[in-house]
């Protein structure tokens, strides 16, 4: 089966600046895929090339097998994009905006589906409001609705929850997860790493236009993120030979970073051997933020 997204040696140069310096990537159908990276890493450029908004200097991109340049009509029908910026046309209402968007894809008489999308995104009460009158969060929902009016199997979300309040964010994620469960492929870029960790099955990390890490979220967490342990001991020093990075040590209270659970086992063993009593022990599970920071530091 052809992948949902197939990216081969994509480069984008703006004069001497290489926004993308050769990206190869496949996203399988039905995946919830995360594209992470610091500002300027090339995430939005890559998404823009997938969407046909920007042309690659070299390389090619296919959406469900359709080339985004040579077979652009088919590729664009298969793709829904939620842009990062809160853009809207101030002349029209929410319903008009969605009707137009469906019409641009050659779809007429879509009112039933538009009503359903508005219902799922809690936009029904605002259907006849002018876009200018909506709050930022509501405008963000309309952007999501616009990306869905032509029922694309692949949906790209570029920072979909930026500036959205917590309640709205949760509602948006419920809806997007529901789409993924129904078989839609989701590609997400976000700076909220906890969201990526929670929803994405696989993640690519970009830095300076290159993919510097690509794996399942679980493998990334296991590979790059150690355990952070808060430990309070009777003694004032750690036993000899502990395999840990000491982040802080103050009057018997230590913050350690351990490589993995085996290192934790080894630490506990050494404490028992040294007859040091543990007063308090707190283990922070690995998180994507730490993985991200480590990967970015490794690539510096």
């Amino acid at each position: 089966m052809t992948p949902a997204i197939e990216i081969r040696n994509v480069q984008k140069h703006y004069g001497p600046v290489h926004a993308l310096a050769g990206v190869d990537l496949d996203v399988a159908r039905g995946e919830f895929f995360g594209l992470l990276g610091p500002n300027g890493a090339g995430k939005t450029t890559l998404i823009s090339i997938i969407a046909g908004l920007v042309r690659a200097t070299t390389g090619r991109v296919r959406v469900m097998g359709a080339d985004v340049v040579e077979d652009y009509r088919k590729a664009r029908r298969l793709l829904g994009v939620v842009p990062q910026e809160l853009v809207f046309d101030p002349f029209f209402t929410v319903r008009e905006t969605l009707r137009f968007q469906a019409g641009y894809f050659g779809l007429r008489a879509q009112d039933e589906w538009i009503d359903e999308v508005m219902h799922h995104l809690d936009l029904t009460a605002k259907a006849d409001s002018n876009m200018r009158a909506l709050s930022g969060g509501m405008k963000r929902r309309v952007l999501v609705a616009q990306a869905l009016v032509h029922r694309p199997p692949v949906i790209v979300l570029d920072e979909p929850t930026a500036g959205v309040d917590v309640g709205l964010r949760q509602g948006l994620w419920r809806f997007i997860r529901g789409l993924n469960e129904k078989g839609h492929t989701i590609i997400l870029t976000t700076h909220y790493l906890e969201e990526a960790e929670l929803y994405c099955g696989r993640i690519a990390m970009l830095k300076a236009g290159r993919i510097v890490a690509l794996d399942s979220t679980r493998n990334l967490l296991e590979k790059f993120s150690g355990l952070q342990v808060q430990l309070t001991l009777d003694g004032r020093s750690l036993p000899e030979g502990v395999d840990a990075t000491v982040l802080s040590a103050e009057e018997g209270r230590f913050t350690l970073r351990l490589r993995d659970y085996a290192a934790l086992e080894d630490l506990l063993h050494r404490l028992r051997e040294s007859r040091m009593a543990i007063r308090e022990l707190e283990i922070d599970p690995p998180d994507l933020e730490e993985v991200f920071l480590r990967v970015m530091a490794r690539e510096s």
Binding site: A51, G52, Y72, P83, F91, Y104
Partner: protein, 250 residues
Amino acid sequence: MSGFPTLFYKELLRFWKVSFQTVAAPVLTALLYLLVFTHALEGRMRVYDVPYTAFLLPGLVMMSVLQNSFANSSSSLIQSKISGNLIFMLLPPISHVELFCAYVLASMVRGITVGLGVLAVTAWFVELPLAAPAWAIAFALAGAAILGALGLLAGIWADKFDQIAAFQSFIILPLTFLSGVFYSIHSLPAFWQGISHLNPFFYMIDGFRYGFFGVSDFPPAASLAVVAVSLLALSATSLALLKSGYKLRG
């Protein structure tokens, strides 16, 4: 199905929703021109053996058609570019030809609507013959299409509103005013008559006027040929830029 009908309809609705600004205001402006010139010059001169007011009116109508056709495509595109909502037209499978047709046709509709509005509000005090209506229609449609395409070009090229305003003030307005809207070029010295022949707006207005009086400064068939070549050249340039994605797709 194509996205063209929706984009065309959206462009029509866009100017119609603000029709006080896009239709009523230019009609009023043309009416004021006519009243002022009529007051100042009526009875003092005749051109083509018709009263000055009658001579002036087709020129004002065509000027309104041209200026509003340009304003429609240029302002719509630059607004979409600056506000960022152009993305909604770039993401769907709309071809460069469909985009061109939707913008230019909507511009033509606005230009012709304003032109008809000017004719309608002046009908009660200016008696206008209609010697060759097919010529008037042909020049009105071709002129509106040319300015719609030129507005599209300006919208593609411009990055700011003031660049569009400069285009209007330094190119469209002088070319319109110096095209024979207010006078027959036969009243100019030979040198300026020659210069006028380099102005494509002259052929549009002169040809349009021929449709009313059956008289013109230049043979209407030759004017139509100049207008047709201008339209083809501007359309080809606009289409080439749209296809290349110049200033629209990165």
